[in-house]
Assembly symmetry: C2
Homo-oligomer: 444 residues x 2
């Protein structure tokens, strides 16, 4: 089937095959649901899981058990399913405050139906064996593509399945939705941490550190780096190195030097994806250790050493890496609420008979930030990457514009602290009880 | 004067010279106070400043204006004083929630009285010119030494000054006091962040990252690294690389490999001070870039690459650097309370006529953690470094013992969140109004 030509009518057809439960007076066929987490995890992907499972539990007349894939789609393919009904309501509620992927995630991209029919047939076998009629896939761009392919199974392989994608990615690069759950919390973490560290450097700059470089995630898009730009409102001199802007060493050094001369210090937020005009990442310096082995370093030490060599300023640098995307302790309340709402909406869309869709965040206003839940067709989501608009980046390429500031500010609103016990956050670990296998083994 | 032989009598003599204000019926001589921040700043050094200034304001009958040194002791030497009376009560109260050094800090160690009499004479000139009778110095080991030298001025140079040291250092290496303000908050940040990132890796390890390395501060002592060990209680496989334990590559790799084989992943907390038996830091790998320039990297990428090369595991690494010591957003409530209490106690010690002392934290019990304020003679503090006891480190050198866990747990108790505005913490920036200069310029 050519998905681009999919008409509402065909969606309706798909739905009708699983719509028996909705017909009053007809013996209800309760279907189970499959839920899986995919790709890099975030501080709030479990909040989406919480939204999916709590909402499904409220509709036990239509949805039976929610089976989670252990380690994402791999759990489906290998029939390694987790019975979430074995988890208490309290533990499921605690997912809202627990970072990471509670059921395990994976980096595994399914090929097209044509290229690997065997895997899709296996999925159908699993769905049939466990009476699964709902497929909720929680991930980013690659996962949206997988989910879209699964949504085609209904027609292509004659098995009734409603596939709903639940958006998630700190990279914030999914189209249509105003933002992606996970991003708002990373943005908040980076803005808060950059502000704190900048205050620190400001205190030290008279006789010591004048340069602070923090490296943030974002290989293709500078959304996360942009969040560091929010500290400029508080008088912090900050230079941002976006992946969208080709690195120009002389211009960059001049910008940093001017800021140090004016303010006594300068903060630099460098995206891991920052690169030279020839595409080479800043982090790829051809660096070798004493034995001649290639060393993988970060962009931050490269930038810091570059400044030291050219301008002589004492520096400190940090690489936030997983600390940023796992930082549930300073998650954005808005982000948590959206993550939950999207999980909830995915189930409601399923109950509404939808297939091949993704619930989205629709922005209603910037200040105050108001949003509601919408929905997008997966055919419009899969394999489309959303980059930062050029007018979100200041003309010199090193800062953010008001437009960007207005966009970001809404996403970092509010705090949503986890409970603490003995000084540490009280995160939940699922029991993750395995469902009995019914099928022969399957080699990945 | 031989400080080691100082007797209570001589302390008393010192006090009597400035004790006029305490004699009832005698015309009160109100003295001003000098307060300065020194060395690396922390998330809570401003809470100590808050304690000093608020307490001084409550005793306006004895203490006049609190002058802060702009950029630490340099502000005193160059007569660059800040009039804190120009700051509102609300702004001074907000210091409690603001990381960094609000008046600027410095890295500047005064030489001995014999080696640099000129600087001490200058200090006395400044004290005289601004009627300063109280000297509060907020810092670590070097600052305690400076404060001790200033405390000797009274006798050695015939100027009445009461010098009180307010402890501060994330390194936690001051003697006598149970802990140093700043450390508890870094410990909490590292424990929380390590826990969050470990949950993340645990989700990813099936098909992706199996190793997470986080580098923490602590060149000489492993107090901060030890805090990462607290996550072991939550089932996280963690290997800690302390500066106290000479690095043994083969043994380390075997320990990591065993943990990955058992748990599927492993978290490594490496102290920046971790070194080989010959004293060479892990971070000093003789690394050179493509042009042959020496590159300063961190210990984390070295450890991560080492594991990748030997064991083949996919890794991620982070370097927390200033993010850890500036992280007011997740400060330990206990730490904030101690920082404030020590600032307050410093003023009360001064009002009690004390000189050459440092208020301390005295531990009364581990669980629940109970503490009170005590005091130590500066002669017993200056130039004494407190290391981690060997029995705080597990026998294999890669973990912490129950003794260490009991020690650390008290220090990270409680959260003390700053207020937020528009998604970001509401930190205060002082007006920092300069006091009119009365003396000729002084070249440092």
């Amino acid at each position: 089937m050519n998905v681009a030509s999919r008409k509402p009518a065909s969606v309706k057809n798909t739905v009708e095959r699983v719509s028996a439960p909705y017909e009053p007076g007809v013996n209800m066929t309760i279907k189970n649901a499959f839920y899986a987490q995919s790709g890099g995890v975030t501080a709030v992907i479990n909040a989406s899981a919480c939204g999916v499972i709590e909402t499904a539990r409220k509709h036990a007349d239509k949805i039976g058990t929610v089976y989670a894939g252990r380690n994402g789609i791999i759990g489906a393919l290998t029939e390694d399913l987790i019975d979430t009904s074995k988890e208490s309501d309290a533990d499921i509620a605690a997912l809202r405050y627990t970072p990471s992927g509670a059921f395990g995630s994976c980096r595994f991209k399914m090929k097209s139906l044509e290229a690997n029919k065997r895997e899709y047939e296996r999925l159908i076998d699993i769905f049939k064996a466990h009476n699964i009629g709902y497929f909720f896939y929680n991930g980013g761009g690659d996962s949206a593509d997988t989910c879209f392919k699964v949504s085609q199974l209904s027609e292509a392989m004659g098995y009734p399945i409603q596939a709903i994608h639940v958006p998630k990615t700190v990279d914030n690069d999914l189209p249509i939705t105003d933002c992606c759950p996970g991003f708002g919390s990373v943005a908040k973490y980076i803005a808060v941490s950059t502000l704190e560290a900048s205050f620190d450097v400001k205190s030290m700059c008279k006789t010591s550190t004048k340069i602070f470089v923090v490296e943030v995630m974002g290989r293709h898009a500078g959304w996360i780096a942009a969040a560091g730009g929010l500290v400029a409102d508080q008088g912090i001199p900050v230079v941002i190195l976006f992946p969208e802007i080709e690195f120009d060493q002389a211009k960059f050094l001049a910008s940093v030097d001017a800021k140090v001369k004016e303010h006594g210090f300068c903060t630099i937020v460098v995206s891991e994806g920052c690169h030279y005009p020839d595409g080479k990442f800043l982090a790829e310096q051809g660096t070798r250790d004493a034995f001649g082995h290639a060393q993988l370093g970060g962009a931050a030490p490269v930038v810091a050493n570059m400044i030291k060599e050219a301008l002589g300023y004492k520096f400190h640098w940090a690489v936030a890496d997983y600390l940023q995307r796992a930082a549930r302790h300073i998650a954005s309340k808005t982000d948590v609420e959206q993550a939950y709402a999207l999980g909830e909406a995915a189930v409601m869309l399923a109950l509404d008979g939808k297939n091949s869709v993704m619930p989205t965040v629709v922005r209603l206003s910037d200040i105050p930030y108001k949003w509601e839940i919408g929905a997008a067709e997966l055919k419009d989501v899969a394999n489309v990457e959303k980059f930062m608009p050029r007018d979100f980046i200041s003309e010199d390429g090193y800062g953010i514009t008001d437009k960007c500031r207005n966009y970001l500010t809404g996403l970092i609103q509010g705090e949503d602290y986890p409970a603490y016990e003995n000084g540490l956050p009280k995160f939940v670990t699922m029991k993750n009880v395995a469902v009995e296998k019914k099928l022969p083994e399957f080699k990945l």
